[in-house]
């Protein structure tokens, strides 16, 4: 009996010690997820919108769409120049008080460019003085036309006694940033020329020595990585022609539907930030919709017309680019159809001529700091439009991991909204596996209803409603397998008609969830 009792206890204890399966129970949770109050400025920055004279919203753009600098034309190549100096008599006894001054213009090889003045942004010059005189020698280098806020460039080199076979030397390196270099030479009538003053003298205290005309000293300069921030001269005659592609990635997401626009006002301004004469020609503006393979060529009066672009005005610190405005609107161009093509890339063809008439300014071309040639867009796009099933699609990577001890059975996502935009939307989600095959879809109970648009007053009365997304067990399992999700939203303006978007349009929403979850411990 006692044995049996103990055995019974042992079995009972064993059963207590072994938990056979998970403890599970069903729960239902309701929780808010996301809420928000969206206006047009939450999607488009405030600087791109304004209320137009008719009291509704316009998209405005004031920014360069394309530009390039000419600094590649005004490069100062790395270069080494040397000047040899010798006495002008067969021989001379050099005493401690001997002085041999000399002045000369050192020409720099800058190709077709003829510079009169440059201000260096960055770069260095390495100097090396070589002495063959048989006594201690000093060399004072003075560049009177190379100046900074401390004055003219100068340096004294000290060299031991040398010979033709075994010359002595002294070297120094200088940062040339912010130096103003007048390249007109000593007499200020040349170009690409550095005026140089050199004084060679004995550095002996008491001894004399003999120098012959065969003892040649060398003055050497090596310019490295010289980049100008300002240049004046004649920059040469150039012609550029190219066709470039501007990609508009957001428009690649438009996968279906049409957009109707009403009016466009646009000013495309060619801006010349250089003090030089130029000519420009826009040869091509082709929009490409890669989804439909439709091309749309923008035509406007000045297209393929050579435009004479005046030089910039002002000086180094107060230059004002010249502007050549091209007015493009729906009366003088096919801009409406061009935009309605929903192009996702644009081909821009252009020609640009610099100094098309040669050096007619006498070498007065100027390159200012940060100046460039650019195409500047001032555009007003009134949000007077009609959308018909205009569908935008985007693909997002997802990495949904089912939490181990929370096993969702059914998830109900409710989007309660108040839509003050005269535009509705219907959304669908598609779940893709690793091979990008659609394995499931999630569709809302209906579209988000458009606000009620009153054509006479341009006002929109907000519509309230809610859309429910119900994810059953199967869809939740698909979510576990999915690696990508496609979000497809189709927009329709109110009654698919032309509407004007009011400035105070808004979209209030509150997303809440109802989760039926089995908790497993």
């Amino acid at each position: 009996m006692k044995k049996h009792t103990l055995l019974l206890f042992a079995l009972l204890i064993f059963s207590f010690a072994c938990k056979k399966e998970e403890t599970r129970w069903d729960t239902a949770w309701e929780a808010p997820l996301v809420h928000g109050h969206l206006t047009i400025n939450d999607m488009i920055p405030v600087e791109y919108t304004e209320t137009n004279a008719d009291g509704y919203l316009s998209l405005v753009i004031h920014e360069p769409v394309f530009g390039f600098s000419l600094d590649t034309l005004i490069q100062l190549p790395d270069t080494t120049v040397q000047e040899k100096t010798a006495i002008g008599v067969p021989s001379i006894e050099v005493t401690p008080s001997f002085v041999q001054p000399s002045n000369y213009d050192q020409e720099l090889d800058l190709g077709d460019i003829k510079l009169r003045k440059v201000i260096i942004r960055s770069g260095t010059v390495e100097t090396k003085m070589v002495n063959t005189w048989p006594g201690k020698t000093s060399l004072a280098l003075f560049l009177p036309n190379v100046t900074n806020e401390l004055g003219s460039f100068n340096h004294i080199y000290y060299m031991d006694a040398g010979s033709e076979a075994d010359p002595s030397s002294d070297e120094a390196s200088f940062d040339m940033a912010n130096y103003h270099m007048d390249l007109r030479g000593i007499d200020e009538n040349l170009f690409n020329s550095l005026g140089i003053n050199v004084v060679v003298q004995s550095n002996e205290e008491t001894d004399n020595y003999i120098v012959t005309d065969a003892d040649t000293n060398i003055i050497g300069f090596t310019f490295k990585d010289m980049i100008p921030q300002y240049a004046m001269g004649y920059f040469g005659q150039y012609t550029f022609a190219d066709t470039m592609t501007m990609s508009l990635p957001p428009l690649k997401n438009v996968v279906a539907g049409t957009l109707d626009l009403d009016s466009i006002d646009m000013v495309l301004t060619v801006k010349n930030g250089f003090n030089l004469i130029a000519q420009a020609k826009i040869t091509k503006l082709t929009g490409i919709n890669t989804r439909t393979n439709n091309l749309s060529e923008l035509e406007f009066p000045q297209k393929n017309t050579t435009l004479n672009i005046d030089p910039a005005s002002g000086g180094l610190y107060d230059y004002v680019p010249s502007e050549y405005p091209l007015i493009i609107n729906n009366t003088n161009s096919n801009m409406i159809s061009f935009l309605e093509n929903l192009s996702d890339s644009i081909l821009v063809g252009y020609e640009m001529k610099i100094n098309p008439f040669g050096n007619i300014t006498g070498g007065a071309d100027e390159f200012f700091p940060n100046s460039k040639m650019e195409l500047f867009l001032d555009g007003e796009f009134p949000m007077n439009l009609g959308a018909n099933n205009l569908t935008i699609q985007d693909t997002l990577d997802i990495d949904w991991e089912n939490p181990g001890n929370l096993d969702p059975n059914e998830v109900r996502i409710v989007v309660a909204y108040e839509n003050g935009f005269p535009m509705g939307a219907a959304s669908k989600f598609y779940l893709l596996d690793d091979s990008e095959t659609v394995i499931d879809s999630i569709i809302g109970s209906g579209p988000i209803q458009s606000g009620i648009y009153a054509e006479e007053s341009y006002t929109t009365t907000a519509s309230a409603g809610q859309v429910t997304f119900l994810l059953d067990k199967g869809q939740l399992e698909s979510l576990d397998l999915a690696s990508k999700i496609i979000l497809r939203v189709a927009f329709d303006t109110h009654e698919s008609a032309m509407i004007k978007v009011p400035a105070d349009a808004f979209f209030d929403f509150n997303v809440r969830s109802n989760l039926n979850i089995t908790i497993a411990l």
């Binding site: 072994c18 599970r24 129970w25 309701e30 808010p32 928000g36 969206l38 979850i517 411990l521």
Partner: protein, 412 residues
């Protein structure tokens, strides 16, 4: 070797047998003999959660709506669930007296103690078991929810009176692990677009929950056991047993984590503006603990041990009456423990075999029916087996816990 078999069996079961022990029978001591006493007292009980529910947590399985509903419908202002598992080895020797008085002997104790004491507010139970979807608009009161778990060992020495076995012990307490948390004014209000959660509370936990003997705290305690003899009007000797245990404290080490919270959080979901138009690379990190305002700090924590007090009228083995009344009272100093009362009958079948039955109410549980069996192997040994919750073994619906105890005395 053979005579130690019962001891081996007792030691084998001691850590896992479930019982709730109040001394089952008093027998006059042999003042010349040493006594080795092994007690294993284990139980868990609840006043409102029946075994159909608690078994799912113990053994696994699906908690059906019916099980949840039955539990929820019974919940009240105190919904306790708790238990104790105590394994104790006591050795009494009359061989010497530490105080030099021959009336007293020396005793040693080694014991291991687990205590779980909880109360869950009805609304918190409903929220956890059903979710909040069915209580939108209702303020769910989580106040006074409490959970405490304590595991410690005691090593003690003391003196006992040879004639009555009354004793006093001083114990060194080894704290192994613990946690405790208590909510005061705390509630949750779920609405369609807002969840408001107010939390006020405090708690602590030890740094580690392993190994079994954690050595994360130290303390001292005093245990008193007094057997008071008296005679009835008809001259029969009776005995009252009074016990006061755990008069002491544990000082948990400086790695102990102290928690505090006093916050009101209104969750309305994420604002889409927190995600839109953010600078590139900006991150939105959400820290749940920070949001709830839970503060934590490490440092020593001094905690009193849960004092146990009991008084009971014991049956006497030497009585000439076969049928005796038994009864008593016990309390445990935790907020979740309701004073425990019992009364019943003891019957001596023979000199070697006796049994008792009792009805009890209180503790962590509710009305219970208990059985206890005692067997004497001559004057050398006694073994007692029993439970104070037979209903718990019989019915999942009406049972609200389980208990088993085993006690063995060896005289030599």
């Amino acid at each position: 070797m053979k005579k130690f078999i019962p001891l081996y069996i007792a030691l084998f079961f001691a850590p896992s047998v479930m019982a709730q022990e109040l001394m089952s029978v008093y027998e006059a001591p042999d003042e010349e003999k040493s006594v080795l006493q092994i007690n294993s007292m284990n139980y868990y009980a609840s006043n409102h959660y029946n075994n159909a529910l608690t078994d799912k947590f113990l053994f696994g399985g699906t908690i059906t709506t019916d099980i949840k509903d039955r539990a929820l419908n019974r919940l009240g202002s105190l919904n306790s669930f708790g238990g104790q598992a105590e394994q104790e080895l006591l050795f009494y020797t009359p061989a010497f007296s530490p105080i030099g008085d021959e009336r007293y002997g020396f005793m040693v104790e080694i014991s291991d103690h687990h205590l779980l004491s909880t109360h869950m507010a009805s609304d918190l139970f409903q929220t956890l078991m059903y979710g909040n979807a069915g209580t939108l608009g209702d303020t769910m009161d989580f106040g006074f929810t409490h959970a405490q778990y304590l595991h410690y060992q005691k090593v003690g020495i003391g003196i006992y009176e040879k004639s009555t076995m009354s004793s006093i012990r001083l114990n060194y307490v080894i704290g192994s692990r613990a946690f405790e948390g208590r909510l005061s004014n705390s509630w949750m209000l779920s609405q369609t677009d807002t969840i408001s959660l107010q939390l006020q509370g405090a708690g602590y936990q030890t740094d580690r929950f392993s190994p079994y003997i954690g050595l994360q705290g130290s303390g001292v305690s005093v245990d008193l056991n007094y057997n008071f003899k008296f005679e009835t009007k008809n001259g029969r000797e009776q005995i009252l047993n009074l016990q006061v245990n755990n008069l002491g404290f544990i000082y948990w080490n400086q790695s102990t984590i102290d928690y505090g919270v006093d916050s009101l959080v209104r969750y309305t979901g994420f604002d889409v503006q927190d995600f839109m138009n953010q600078p590139e690379g900006a991150e939105n990190n959400y820290n749940f603990q920070d949001t709830l305002g839970i503060e934590r700090a490490r440092g020593n924590v001094l905690k009193a041990l849960p004092i146990e007090f009991s008084i009971q009228k014991l049956p006497m083995r030497e009585s000439d009456k076969k049928l005796q009344f038994i009864g008593g009272f016990k309390t445990l100093l935790t907020s979740d423990y309701f004073p425990y009362f019992y009364g019943g009958a003891y019957y001596a079948v023979s000199d070697a075999f006796t049994g008792s039955t009792r009805l009890s109410y209180g503790g962590f549980g509710r009305l219970q029916w208990g059985l206890n069996l005692n067997y004497w192997a001559g004057d050398k040994a006694r073994i007692s087996l029993g439970t104070f919750d037979m209903i718990g073994f019989i019915s999942k619906t009406y049972g609200h816990g389980r208990s088993m105890h085993l006690s063995a005395n060896f005289n030599f």
